[in-house]
Amino acid sequence: MINECFEQLEKLGLDPVKVALSSVSELYAMPDSQLLAFKTELILQAYRFHYENNAFYRASCDQKGVTPNSVSTPEDLLKLPLIPISLFKSNDSHKLLSVNLKDIELEMRSTGTSGIPSVSRRCSDTVDNAILGIYSMYREFLKISKGAGLYLCPSTEEIPEMGMIKALNMLAGLLDTHQFMVKNESLVVEDALSQLDEWKNKFDRHIIGPPFLINRFIRYLKATNTRIKLDKGSFIITLGGWKRFSGEMLSREEFNQECMEYLGVEPSQIRDIYALVESNVVAIDDEHGVKHVSPFIHFSIRNPKKLDEEVADGEVGQLAILDPLARSTPGFILTEDLVRLLPEQSPSGRSGQRMQYIMRLPESTEFGCCAVNLDKRLDDVEAEQNCPVVA
């Protein structure tokens, strides 16, 4: 049935990926087996494209004996060769391209604690897919179309290529107004507070940024015993790692408690997003705090000691992402993240995959995204300001 459906779409001149991107609610309403069959066909189409257009990837596939003819079912997805995330940081990352560099429209990056940027390159088609995918997920889970956004992060003007900021900045287009509060590597909390006050009774006020920076804002409220009551339609939206540069882990539970106490929101108003610059996936918390994987992307959770095996649902393993939205580079990626898929039925009624982020692989050479460096930089700047020694 799925094959016939794809044939019909193609006969009409429609791209099945684009149809999927505009049908998020419909995909989440499908029975799991049907959704998996649909995703599989999208992924296998993408696989065939990369096999045909990417000499480096094709050579890897041939070496492993995996060809377009040898994969056809959801079970075969396990066979698809995976690109380790480290290749996006390598000197010769040009070999990852399935299109010519002249067709690349956008380069995005993320930098963890090693300081070596992971650079992902997107052609026009991939940018189309990424934008449609991110916006459709924002609409599905946040239903935002108005309000004011207090961004506790730098603007894309200050760091235009940073994936995390770019994805958060896309939300701004849905709002009536917004302000970036980190300027020149400095967050003036008093300014953020007065901005929130200025918007009071005019807009639903949303606070958006990496967890560290929102935590930094809350620490100030705590220290000054200040409590804010945000609006019923407000969201606290986080994207980025939960581990600080110092290695200290932020507790999600504690973070939620503090948001409730100092920002006056309910747990259903706190939404975390999992995303990776190398992929086009966004997994967003629903109103129950359960993170849903984009329905057109497949998560395969591998045994870190035997990467050709999946762990059972509910068990922790290393995340492999199969992303059919990626056209400029193969979207079949082995991440350095440990996650687990949630086997329970979704209280929201949605089908598809739900995930819980656990941590970076212990042997990973680095952790965090650019937010981690930003947090450290703000700490350093504060320490410089507070240092009594004349330089």
Binding site: D92, H94, L101, G115, P117, V119
Partner: protein, 125 residues
């Protein structure tokens, strides 16, 4: 978005690698989120006999590192340090605004090389 010079030098870089021992090492980069380039240079009788790089960052910065290394071969330090603005602009070709920081990188590499040359002159009396 990318001119032919950048496409060729990014897609088929000829000077990637490491020297076991280098006479000059240059490193440019932004510690927070930016590009990083390390260039190693070997001198032979005051001429540059080899130059290799490692680069992490956008395609244009990787291409810039390759272009810089290629431009050094068989040149004297004096001639490299005397390059003017126009010459350096031509090395990278026309850049879009989002690539323009690579012109700064190229200038910084030349600047660092000049500083190294001065330091060597001082050391050699």
């Amino acid at each position: 978005m990318y001119n032919d010079i950048i496409i060729e030098n990014f897609s088929d870089p000829q000077h990637v690698g490491d020297l076991e021992s280098a006479d000059i090492e240059l490193e440019v980069g932004n510690s927070v989120c930016g590009d990083r380039i390390r260039v190693q240079i070997l001198l032979d009788d005051n001429k540059i006999s080899n130059a290799l790089f490692r680069a992490w960052g956008c395609a244009t910065s990787v291409a810039t590192a390759n272009i810089f290394c290629d431009s050094l071969l068989n040149q004297s330090l004096d001639s490299v340090c005397q390059r003017d603005v126009e010459y350096k602009q031509q090395m990278l070709g026309e850049l879009s605004p989002s690539q323009h920081h690579c012109m700064d990188i190229l200038n910084e590499l030349h600047q660092l090389l000049s500083e190294q040359r001065v330091a060597e002159d001082v050391a050699n009396g």
